[in-house]
Amino acid sequence: MLKIENLHARIEEKEILKGINLNIKPGEIHAIMGPNGSGKSTLASVLAGRTDYEVTGGSASFMGKDLLELSPEDRAREGLFLAFQYPVEIPGVSTTNFIKSAVNEKRKYLGLEPLDAVQFLKTMKEKMKLVEIDQSLLSRSLNEGFSGGEKKRNEIFQMAMLDPKLAILDETDSGLDIDALRIVANGVNQLRNNDNAFLIVTHYQRLLDYIVPDFVHVLYNGRIVKSGTKELAFELEEKGYDFIKAEVNEATA
């Protein structure tokens, strides 16, 4: 589904990704962990098509297409979804209208008829239950004045509405209390199936208690330095990132 080979990227003059290799297949949940500044969010942003970052080498293919050649909107329409670490507040754009536009632009791209008002509302009601989000929140301006937890739930709600093939959750757990974390995780678990995949970017193992990954990768200094199963996450939680840093530094010394 997603195949990343030797991906390099920089922002301005600073090289942040220094050769990422990652292969995600349908039905899998991958977690990317790593200390602050290791390049986790950069990887998420580069995959979603943020132009602040310049890809300087390597490749990324998504569903057989060259991901890096696609505009951010076409990546989304092809089925890539990024749940933002910091969802943007957009005054004056109602959440409902925004989601309707997004859903219908995607449908148009895929050659489908737009959802009519009834179908749209029906789908919306279903998905709202999934993330325990309130109607009143959705009639407000997009993310404007939302609490941290409401913003993150809104991200998962949008994910549910857009039904992506690959969802990248960029530190969705940061700043969430345990109830919000449970709701977000619950949403993801209900949405997962054999055809879609998740890439969960997180600093802590906490979220992985609720969303059990098939693979855990440790990103450090712009490279994936260790991969394993969910046990690796427990090890990191127990020992901290220092043992990884020590291992890497020893190897390069």
Partner: protein, 433 residues
């Protein structure tokens, strides 16, 4: 052109006005001869393309041309079909075309000459030309020198108009560069309530220039809504001044929307001349091509305990330019004044520009005043967020710009009119969802 010689010729040959306005016109002609036309050296016209305004070849015959009167209904904006309609053609009030929907007990519309000689003579005497204090550039005086074709509108004491009063300005530019000078004096008597809408249209392919002066007195506890909509298309030039004087506890709500034109200069001067007055001023300029929109506003707090709030927003594309200049005066006696002002601009292209200048002159010591202005591009983070959900770049921009404009659009209370203007704006932003 040498404006003084050009207009002197016309002034001397105009039909001798024998009404009570004669001395008013003479006085203003003398003032114009002193002041002349605005020039770039005037601080208040520094950024305005004045060269485009008073050009050679102006056609100024003060005649209503042979416009097909049946075609006038085409100029009625959607949402204002049922209204009191007032027509000016080439700056001359057309008494015969006036359509009054409200009761004659509530609303009076007549020529300025008639008002200067009947029971409204005292009002005309007191207020006509009484509000020029802020203009040292001659355009008000030039208008007044030729004020014979003006109109007088009165909303009687305690009347609540059911329908808006829509003033249509139509310039016939079929024969040449049409110059028009509409003149309007309005009395919103105490405890009454009215909405006044102004719109502008041009017939023909030549350019036009409209130099309008409107003076409104909103008396005690009266409520005025004023909407100015400019969408005349390229080639239309405009210098318009709206003077509003508010007495005690009067409330005024003004919305100025500029969607097209060549050089459009709007002066809006508010005088808070009674305690506990309230004034809201909103503006939106959505510009492209070579359009220049220049909004100059003044709020003069002459009396204590007044409130004013001002929000103007601009979106500039192509080579267009937006200008905002907002002055707030708080006089020595005007304690407890609350005066706020904000101007926000978005530049969509390399060649577009914005000039913004807030000016506060405060002589009282117990007031709350604030001002702020911004000029920037569309928020890149917001744009990326929308695109990352599959919304095309074009639609994402349109959504954000539409949201930016919505604050101002919402101020138009007449729903069908608001929807119509909203539609014009959506079309312009090529919102395609």
């Amino acid at each position: 052109m040498d404006a003084k010689i050009f207009f002197k010729e016309i002034y001397q040959h105009q039909e001798k006005d024998t009404s009570n306005l004669k001395s008013f016109q003479q006085k203003n002609w003398d003032a114009f001869s002193e002041l002349g036309l605005p020039a770039i050296k005037h601080e208040e016209w520094k950024y305005t393309k004045v060269k485009n305004l008073f050009k050679d070849g102006l056609v100024y015959d003060q005649q209503a041309s042979s416009i097909n009167k049946d075609a006038l209904s085409n100029f009625i904006l959607r949402g204002t079909e049922k209204a009191n309609h007032v027509f000016f053609i080439n700056g001359i009030y057309q008494a015969g075309l006036t359509l009054v929907a409200d009761s004659a007990d509530d609303l009076v519309i007549k020529t300025l000459e008639a008002a200067s000689g009947d029971e409204d003579a005292a009002f005309v005497d007191a207020y006509l030309g009484g509000s020029y204090g802020y203009n040292s550039d001659g355009i008000n005086a030039l208008n007044a020198s030729f004020s014979s074709g003006g109109a007088f509108i009165k909303v009687r004491k305690g009347a609540v108009l059911t329908h808006p009063v829509v003033i249509h300005h139509i310039a016939d530019a079929q024969v040449g560069l049409r110059f028009s000078q509409p003149r309007i004096l309005i009395s919103i008597e105490s405890l009454s309530q009215a909405t006044i809408i102004e719109t502008y249209n041009r017939i023909g392919t030549n350019e036009s220039l409209t130099n309008e002066v409107m003076e409104i007195c909103v008396e005690k506890e009266a409520n005025l809504r004023y909407i100015k909509i400019q969408n005349e298309g390229g080639g239309a030039n405009h210098t318009g001044t709206t003077h509003i004087r508010q007495l005690a506890k009067a409330v005024t709500h003004a919305v100025t929307i500029t969607l097209s034109g060549t050089v459009v200069r709007n002066n809006l001067n508010m005088v808070m001349d009674g305690e506990f007055g309230e004034s809201h001023m909103f503006g939106l300029y959505l510009l492209d091509g070579n359009t220049q929109a220049d909004n100059h506003t003044i709020v003069d707090n002459a009396m204590p305990n007044c409130f004013s709030n001002e929000l103007y927003k601009g979106i500039m594309d192509g080579s267009s330019s937006g200008i905002f200049n907002g002055k707030i005066f708080v006089r020595k006696d005007a304690q407890k004044t609350n005066a706020y002002q904000t101007n926000k601009n978005i530049l969509m292209s390399e060649n577009s520009s914005a000039n913004t200048k807030p000016q506060l002159e405060i002589f009282a010591d117990d007031v709350k005043c604030s001002h702020g202005c911004t000029i920037g591009k569309l928020d890149e983070d917001a744009l990326f967020y929308l695109r990352a959900r599959g919304i095309s770049e074009q639609n994402a921009k349109a959504l954000l710009l539409h949201a930016f404009a919505a604050d101002i659009l919402q101020q138009i209370e007449i729903e069908p009119l608001r929807e119509y203007i909203d539609g014009l704006i959506s079309d312009r932003l090529t919102l395609n969802i």
